[in-house]
């Protein structure tokens, strides 16, 4: 594990450095406006806001960027939840595509780039000064963006990797009532859940306390590390650089499933865990009904704690508060994230290629990043006598308006950073992240481009393997399948499904990544 720890440290350092220089002064290396032509337009296909009642088509900040660049943007914005389903058929037909395309996935199998849909950008770095500077500053990101043929095709949108990731959160009101510290081991945790079930913690005289409320997607984050598994990545490398597939780990994975099956049978993991969603959990917080949840750290102060009457925006501590990961036989950890969250490509057949490339470059510039993060002076922030920026109150009071400006633009190559996130959150939340999350983060399995042969093999096997694993996980947890009787057959079927071939592919990819980032 040492190797990945060091690696994540390097990534963190590199990102922080990038951020530090961004804060020093806003700058843009390209000449503005990008074109002198009247009425120049660029068409962009991307996702719309994650807030379903916000439309980014007329977002003020994005318009500002277009104005500075001297172009008009023709947006095609599609709801994020159906983005991949709507866009991949468009890409398959290869017709009438816009100039700039936000890809429906990270193209790790090189489906899009090998079909000649997207323009290789490394051949245009001379007109992309901002992007060149970014790549120079972020060698690891550059490494993961370099395709097997040596070209760079995409401009990334990046996220924070070691902070504000999914984290275990306790209802501190209940912990205090029970007079116990936040559990850090599986055994203590289960005891805590049992106590919740037995005690009328919200004092309404009804046994309506739900010990834990976890969306099923977070179960692997929460419990698998205690069994020594990185089930979030699925494939992971151990300390010796050997790649494993977590759902194929005969003992550890079985122990993990046995544990969850136990929780399920005891009613500590609710019957409907597979379909539980965030809205339901929020409602439970509002009714003071639940003791534990697990979600992206971001929700801790802005969503969950905010449901409690006792919590105010300027409170010095939260109600739903993050804690250290649970440990079992293995020390717990949190699974971090790969830095690249989305990629943007230039349509190789665009009649407007040069301008589109220049615009994408400008959208990467630190000047643009500053707009995504802070917005504009007088609109979203003010500068005090010492020259420090402060967000105006409307930013926190009127989410719809604030998001509608295009802040943190999900449809642009925006680069998240830790300091830029810190300023948006309550002080206790920032501290909580430094104390309980950052020290425990482990880097996920790296995302590496597949060679054509590897893509062929994983295309053939991985989807079916994933389907099989998903349905069996639920079957074993709920007891539809018996862990004693059926687990060996499950492992045998995985072998039948060529898990061995897949492990070879992932091993080769990991080795390539390790060699490239040494």
């Amino acid at each position: 594990m040492k190797k990945t720890r060091i690696l994540s440290l390097v990534i963190a350092l590199v990102m922080l450095l990038g951020v530090a220089s961004a804060c020093a002064e806003s700058l843009n290396l390209a000449q503005l406006p990008l074109t002198t032509e009247e009425g120049a337009t660029i068409s962009i296909l991307a996702i719309n806001s994650y807030y379903s009642n916000v439309d980014l088509k007329d977002a003020t900040l994005l318009k500002e960027i277009a104005d500075r660049a001297g172009v008009t943007i023709e947006w095609t914005l599609i709801d994020p939840s159906s983005y991949a389903d709507s866009v991949s058929p468009m890409l398959a037909s290869g017709k009438d595509l816009p100039d700039i395309i936000m890809m429906p996935d990270k193209d790790l199998n090189m489906d899009y780039l090998s079909s000649g849909l997207v323009e290789p950008l490394d051949e245009h770095l001379d007109i992309m000064p901002n992007y060149s500077a970014f790549l120079e500053k972020n060698p690891i990101i550059k490494g993961s963006l370099t395709a097997v043929d040596g070209h760079i095709y995409y401009v990334p949108q990046t996220v924070v990797t070691n902070n504000y990731q999914p984290v275990l959160m306790y209802n501190t009101l209940w912990l205090e009532k029970l007079g116990i510290e936040a559990p850090t081991t599986l055994d203590a945790f289960v005891d805590y859940l049992r106590k919740i079930k037995e005690t009328d913690l919200n004092g309404n005289g009804e046994a309506d306390e739900i010990p834990m409320s976890i969306q099923s997607a977070f179960l692997p984050y929460m419990f698998a590390p205690a069994f020594g598994l990185d089930l979030v990545s699925g494939y992971y490398a151990d300390d010796n650089g050997v790649v494993h597939y977590a759902p194929y780990e005969k003992e550890a994975y079985k122990a993990y499933l046995t544990f969850l099956n136990g929780l399920y049978n005891e009613g500590l993991l609710e019957q409907e865990f597979a379909s539980l969603n965030r809205d339901q959990i929020v409602a439970r917080c509002a009714n003071d009904q639940t003791g534990v949840t697990f979600d992206y750290s971001w929700q801790m102060s802005t969503l969950y704690s905010a449901q409690y009457d006792s919590y105010k925006a300027d409170s010095s501590k939260g109600v739903i508060v993050g804690a250290a990961p649970l440990s079992g036989e293995n020390a717990g950890f949190y699974v971090g994230r790969n830095p690249i969250s989305n990629i943007f490509g230039i349509n190789a057949k665009s009649a407007n290629k040069e301008l589109a490339i220049k615009f994408l470059d400008y959208a990467m510039s630190e000047e643009a990043q500053d707009l995504y993060v802070w917005g504009m002076e007088g609109l979203t922030y003010e500068v005090d006598a010492e020259g420090a920026r402060h967000f105006l109150p409307r930013c926190t009071e009127d989410t719809i308006w604030y998001q509608g400006l295009g802040i943190n633009a999900p449809n642009m190559p925006s680069q998240q950073s830790v300091p830029a996130t810190d300023v948006l959150l309550a002080a206790w939340h920032v501290q909580n992240d430094r104390d309980f999350e950052e020290p425990y983060i482990r880097a996920p399995f790296p995302e590496v481009y597949s060679t054509e042969e590897e893509a062929e093999i994983s295309g053939m096997y991985q989807v079916d393997i994933q389907t099989y694993v998903d349905e069996n996980a639920i079957a074993f947890i709920t007891g539809t399948k018996n862990l004693e009787a059926d687990f060996d057959a499950y492992i045998a079927t995985l072998e039948n499904m060529q898990i061995g071939e897949m492990l070879k592919v992932r091993q080769a990819q990991y080795d390539r990544f390790a060699a490239a980032t040494k």
Binding site: M460, T467, T478, T480
Partner: protein
């Protein structure tokens, strides 16, 4: 060709021009239908080529003719997949049970409703049973999810009140087919009974009177008069449904299923969707889809043959 086709006097040969000038109005009316089938059913069949090719993203329509030919590779891959048998079984069983339970209920209902003395009640019952047909599938599945929820669904609350343990209907594989079939029948039996009600109404009233004079009971009336009178309709409809046997409703399965019930719920159509649209394996998805269509085609042909044998009439 129908065996019992009447042989009339030979029609005089006419040229195409003569036919057009004589029947152009009829042909004009037919034109949109003709175009519809050409554009939406026949032209897209070129896409079948994909099932034998390594189709690349973004190569578009031209890619159909330039992609690398891989022969039966995708078919081999499908049949060697651990899911192949399960998908075929699920698709077939889901359709089979839908037919088995969905088909007789409208007939029984139609007979029952025509035997009612109170015409008013019969009308009301007919309207009530017929309305669910117009509820969209999304809403029906939403209702099921709500009513069947283990924590606050009305069905499970009743089970708990009666001393049972709540059942997680929507994520239990053993319930998937039952729910699919029951909700499907509930939705369509009223609507499907209309044609049988009409057939029963068409029976000559003097036959009823004759039976009454002979002292036949209600049961006799059903068995010896009504059923034989509508048997032709029943058989024809049965055969037409048989042809559609493999056409399980993709939307409904897609809305109802989750990885927890793939064991019984995953059908060929949803698998093709996941492979083709979600994982952009267009060649593979086309191959599976083509196999599915071929089986469906065989069903249509054989049910048509069967119809000709049994009833002497058929679709073509």
């Amino acid at each position: 060709m129908r065996k019992d086709k009447l042989v009339g006097p030979k029609a005089p040969r006419r040229s195409l021009g003569q036919l057009v000038s004589r029947d152009w109005q009829l042909m004009l009316i037919f034109l949109p239908v003709f175009l519809y089938y050409i554009v939406f059913s026949y032209l897209p069949m070129v896409g079948i080529l994909m099932a034998f090719e390594d189709f690349k993203m973004g190569s578009g329509f031209a890619g159909l003719f330039t992609s690398k030919w891989v022969g039966l590779k995708w078919f081999n891959q499908f049949f060697s997949s651990v899911f192949a048998w399960r998908l075929i079984r699920n698709t077939f069983l889901l359709s089979f049970f839908s037919l088995l339970f969905g088909f007789p209920i409208p007939i029984i209902f139609a007979i029952a409703i025509t035997q009612l003395r109170s015409q008013k009640f019969a009308k009301v019952a007919q309207v009530i049973t017929y309305l669910p047909y117009f509820i969209s599938t999304v809403v029906v599945v939403g209702m099921m999810t709500n009513f069947l929820s283990p924590s606050n669904g009305i069905i499970n609350q009743m089970i708990v009140k009666l001393g049972g343990k709540p059942i997680n209907f929507m994520s239990d594989p053993s319930w998937f087919r039952k729910l699919y079939v029951i909700s499907g029948s509930w939705q369509s039996f009223g609507f499907n009974s209309i044609i049988f009600v009409a057939a029963i109404m068409g029976i000559d009233p003097s036959l009823y009177e004759a039976m009454e004079v002979d002292g036949a009971s209600r049961w006799h009336r059903i068995v010896h008069l009504i059923l034989p009178s509508i048997s032709e309709t029943i058989i024809l409809l049965l055969i037409m449904t048989l042809g559609n046997l493999l056409n399980v409703g993709f939307e409904k399965v897609y809305l109802m299923y989750s990885p927890a019930v793939y064991e019984t719920g995953d059908v060929i159509a949803t698998y093709v969707y996941r492979q083709g649209i979600e994982n952009h394996k267009y060649g593979y998805a086309s191959a599976v889809g083509l196999f599915y269509s071929a089986v469906g085609f065989a069903f249509v042909i054989s049910s048509n043959r069967l119809a000709r044998k049994v009833t002497g009439s058929s679709l073509w």
